[in-house]
């Protein structure tokens, strides 16, 4: 049997694209509805709701009417996690600017907006706290009565014998500040719920990465059977994690569709998205390390403080950033003694939730700044200190207990150093400094946990433990292959990548494969698309299911061609006796499987298999290198070069993989230099438009050079590792290290991101340079 692969590994053009470039994509906001809703949001960060009054003629609902809907209260059964509850509409108190107070309904969007503006809100303001450090003070305002001291998660990890460890050698410390980010998909969130009078079911079409989990959550909160709710994720205009968490607005919209027995739509505007969707990365990471005489890291002590906002996101809980930080802080470095305290603190700010990279942009910045500071302390180059500390032998168990199956940390770093031509750069850097031009080069080495199944998630103790994915794979009587998956892509090109995997197993072309996703009526239960998992896990599941179908096809072909099944190969849409021209078309086999099933006494009729895949997970890795120039007059930063050497195992579709890297790096550069959600001291959002919160344009993002290493892993059936988040994880540290290299002659250090001109100016001033 030939196992020739023809499609995997090729930059096949995406099956998704022809409809999208024609403007024929179907997005949630495209659906017309009978009723449109507008949410009335709190203008104050903390307060008691005294009165909410609707304008004459407006239909309005508040918490009183939705009293039967349970609050969102995601659970974690470990780490002393303090669960906090979020009513879908605020009932007595509001906890951040943007908190949902009421919903108004009209048959026209503009009219609903008019009504919402006329709602009279009487909220008695209370003292608010927006900063995590302040929230820990003994006299700080308390955000939730259930969370005294505002502490919702406090985890301490120590390697065995840590306390007895003598701290010898050179101590290097580093504290970084990661300011608050918004994922900012270009499509804002939206939901459309339609009640069907005949079946009494509701169909919720919405911008989600996780349709099955949304169905479970919403049905639970409203108290309806899951079978009475169908959730559809149509084309979704980017998510980056922001669309994996449950939006309370979705629950309200479903409730309204049932209550009004009609169709109801909500379309988030950009202001709402920036102030009241889900934020992330508001973190401080403090490291204290001991290095031995040879520059090897021996002991690492970490302290992570995460501002989780006013509520906890479903399903991940408010512990997601602290937990991820603690587990993955050691990164690609080989050392044994590790202690880390990670805390999550509630404040009167928008709820924090996963955003592509989750915590790792901040912890990678901390570790990579630490390495550069250690290099200076030892008089070594940044690459030499890393050479002495990177893990080189695999499998390796990290100081936090994670097993790295394979990795090319050192090789990836050497690859970018090779590509950049270091000596030439150093000559240019030295030559330009006397002219007042400050060039800098920065490195960032990291590993990225990908494709992990339920055992890895179970360690977190989430009440909802994701991990596995399943697929139903069928060939219809006309010979078209249909894969129904629980994963829910929203721009990743997963349909194309899966079609390539299936095409190779079944000897067809990818355009003969239809991948169905994002519809709970049409697909088996699954967890959706997040955490760099879908290609590995859904990809593994389709691989298994396709091999089962293949077994059946060759058995049938063997019977029909009167030969042994082992002699049959599937290729070019045919089942062929290997080495001969005796063949039968797959379309004929398909027709026969359904309509002449009696010819195969030992096979079940039809062509349909299912498979579940639940891997332990793996780690991809990369090294990023940035060359920047800092203009010390304007404090503007330009990125001259950006190089990535990555190892994500086998690349199923290199074009798609490179697209993921480029998009991720662009978001990482944005994180490093431009984007920041800013609150006033009283908790007002100061960045509620795209003129204040600044996603970069094509002028700010350089051409990104990519080098592939392809270490195939046994930890994944397809050999692919996944790389969805790596770009965002590594880029900020490379950019900040480059800025610091540029400013080193001025004795200026920047350990906060984004490194805006204002922050650079302040640092230059503090150093007496300006």
């Amino acid at each position: 049997m030939s196992a020739a692969t023809h499609w995997v590994g090729r930059s096949v053009r995406r099956l998704e694209d022809p409809a999208l470039v024609r403007g024929r994509g179907r997005f949630t906001a495209d659906l017309p509805a009978q009723h449109y809703v507008r949410f009335v949001r709190s203008p104050v960060a903390s307060g008691h709701i005294v009165r909410v009054a609707a304008p004459p003629g407006a239909m309005m609902f508040t918490a009183a009417e939705l009293a039967g809907v349970a609050p969102i209260r995601p659970m974690l059964d470990k780490f002393g996690y303090v669960p906090i509850a979020q009513p879908v509409l605020a009932s007595e108190v509001v906890r951040y600017v943007g908190d949902l107070v009421a919903v108004v309904i009209a048959d026209d969007e503009a009219l609903a907006e008019d009504f919402a503006e006329q709602v009279e809100l009487d909220i008695e303001p209370l003292a608010a706290v927006t900063d995590a450090q302040f929230a820990l003070a003994p006299d700080a305002p308390q955000v939730h009565a259930a969370a005294p001291g505002n502490l919702v998660v406090d985890i301490l990890y120590e390697t065995p014998g840590y306390a007895e460890r003598t701290r010898k050698g050179r101590r290097v410390a580093c504290t970084i500040r990661s300011h608050r980010q918004n994922a900012t998909p270009i499509e804002p969130r939206a939901a459309h719920a339609a009640f069907d009078a005949a079946s009494r079911r509701v169909t919720l079409t919405c911008t989600t990465q996780t349709p099955h989990m949304m169905r479970t959550a919403i049905a639970d909160l409203i108290g309806m059977e899951e079978a009475d709710l169908r959730v559809i994720a149509p084309d979704v205009g980017g998510g980056f994690g922001q669309k994996m968490s449950l939006a309370p607005e979705f629950v309200v919209v479903v409730w309204l569709a049932r209550h009004l027995r009609s169709s109801v739509a909500w379309i988030e505007d950009r202001r709402e998205n920036l102030m009241a969707s889900f934020h992330s990365r508001d973190m401080t990471v403090a490291l204290e390390a001991s290095f031995d005489d040879t520059g090897r890291l021996v002991v690492l002590d970490g302290d992570v403080l995460s501002n989780v906002g006013a509520y906890a996101p479903y399903p991940n809980t408010a512990a997601v950033e602290p937990l991820m930080s603690l587990a993955e802080l050691p990164g690609p470095y080989a050392f044994g003694a590790y202690r880390c305290q990670a805390r999550g603190v509630v404040t009167n700010t928008c709820c924090s939730a996963p955003y592509r990279g989750v915590a790792r942009p901040a912890i990678t910045l901390a570790m990579e700044r630490l390495m550069d500071k250690a290099a200076r302390a030892f008089g070594l180059t940044p690459w030499e200190i890393r050479r002495r500390n990177l893990v080189t032998a695999f499998p390796f168990t990290s100081a936090s207990g994670l097993v790295y199956d394979t990795g090319t940390y050192r090789e990836a770093m050497e690859a970018v150093l090779q590509a950049v031509d270091l000596p030439a750069f150093q000559v240019r850097q030295s030559a330009l400094r006397p002219q007042g031009r400050y060039l800098g080069l920065g490195l960032s080495v990291f590993c990225e946990r990908t494709g992990y199944g339920s055992p890895a998630f179970a360690v977190r103790g989430m009440a909802v433990t994701p991990g596995w994915e399943q697929v139903e794979l069928a060939i219809d009587p006309s010979g078209v292959v249909e894969a129904r998956i629980g994963a829910s892509p929203h721009g990743q090109g997963l349909a194309t990548s899966l079609a390539q995997i299936i095409a190779d197993r079944l000897g067809v072309t990818p355009d003969r494969v239809r991948v169905v996703h994002g519809d709970t009526d049409r697909t088996p239960y699954g967890f959706g698309t997040f955490a760099s998992r879908s290609l590995v896990i859904a990809g593994g599941a389709v691989h298994i299911a396709a091999d089962r179908l293949r077994m059946k096809l060759v058995a049938m072909a063997g019977t029909m061609l009167e030969t042994a099944a082992e002699d049959i190969e599937l290729a070019d849409g045919l089942a062929r006796v290997a080495g001969t021209d005796r063949a039968i078309a797959l379309t004929t086999l398909a027709r026969t499987a359904y309509h002449q099933a009696h010819r195969f006494s030992d096979l079940s009729p039809g062509l349909r298999e299912s498979a579940v895949y639940d891997p332990t997970g793996t780690f991809s890795n990369a090294c990023h290198l940035a060359i920047v120039e800092v203009d010390v007059a304007t404090c503007a930063i330009s990125i001259e070069r950006f190089i990535v050497a990555e190892d994500a195992g086998r690349l199923i579709n290199p074009m798609i993989a490179e697209g993921q890297i480029r998009g991720g790096v662009a978001q990482g550069i944005a994180n490093a230099l431009y984007e920041e959600i800013v609150y006033s001291e009283t908790g007002d959002t100061l960045t509620a438009t795209l003129a204040d919160y600044l996603p970069p344009t094509c002028r700010e993002i350089p051409r990104i050079e990519i080098h592939h290493l392809e270490t195939v892993t046994d930890a994944s059936i397809t050999g692919a590792k996944g790389l969805g988040e790596g770009g965002t994880i590594g880029a900020p540290a490379a950019v900040l290290n480059a800025i610091n290299d540029a400013l080193a002659p001025l004795e200026v250090e920047i350990d906060a991101m984004p490194a805006t001109p204002l922050r650079i100016h302040a640092a230059l001033q503090a150093a007496g340079v300006r």
């Binding site: 053009r13 995406r14 998704e16 694209d17 022809p18 999208l20 470039v21 024609r22 403007g23 024929r24 994509g25 997005f27 906001a29 495209d30 017309p32 969007e109 503009a110 900012t184 998909p185 270009i186 499509e187 804002p188 084309d235 979704v236 205009g237 980017g238 980056f240 379309i267 505007d269 950009r270 929203h490 721009g491 990743q492 090109g493 074009m655 798609i656 490179e658 697209g659 480029r662 998009g663 991720g664 790096v665 662009a666 978001q667 438009t689 795209l690 003129a691 996603p695 344009t697 094509c698 002028r699 993002i701 051409r703 990104i704 770009g727």
Partner: protein, 172 residues
């Protein structure tokens, strides 16, 4: 109060009754059923709603529908017409504009939400000035936001399409 507006969109006349405050993008999407034009910010920054009005790229969230009364509007649904409308009228848009083809070939899109806006922006710029320099073209593309691609695929696609269109023009 509603006012009448006559919009010519992709060569088809639409007589709509709209409130004066109705934006062009809402009229396109809700009154004309052309949902290929997307709304990303409604304050004129992201450019997802870019359409061509009388030959110029316009953010349709910043223009009222009544302002487009009597104007020729081209949306993503009619983009291919820009290449072939000289020769004969199309009732069925079946072919792809070189820009659309190039976006597919150069991986110029991921989620596809900003894509119609980028295509219409690039089309307006290239049809107005087929010999625009690469640098000016990239400068024009910085008008719009994309969150998925990191822009390289978009730039590569538009530069490739610009070359293809110049060749096609010179062969005519």
């Amino acid at each position: 109060m509603k006012l009448p507006a006559r919009l010519t969109i992709n060569g088809v006349t639409y007589d709509v009754q709209v409130e004066p405050r109705r934006t062009l993008v809402d009229a396109l999407r809700r009154d004309c059923g052309l949902t290929g034009t997307h709304i990303g910010c409604e304050h004129g920054v992201c450019g997802s709603c870019t359409v061509i009005v009388d030959g110029s790229p316009v953010r349709s969230c910043l223009m009222f529908a009544v302002q487009a009364d009597g104007c020729e509007v081209v949306t993503i649904e009619g983009l291919p017409l820009l290449m072939s409308c000289d020769t004969k009228a199309h009732d069925e848009v079946s072919t792809l504009h070189p820009l659309q083809q190039a976006f597919i070939e150069h991986h110029g899109l991921q989620c596809g939400f900003c894509t119609p806006g980028f295509l219409m922006l690039a089309a307006a710029v290239l049809h107005r000035d087929p010999h625009i320099t690469d640098a000016d073209l990239i400068d024009a593309l910085s008008s719009n936001l994309c969150r998925c691609t990191g822009y390289q695929g978009i730039i590569d696609a538009v530069l490739a399409a610009a070359r293809a269109m110049r060749v096609s023009n010179s062969e005519r």
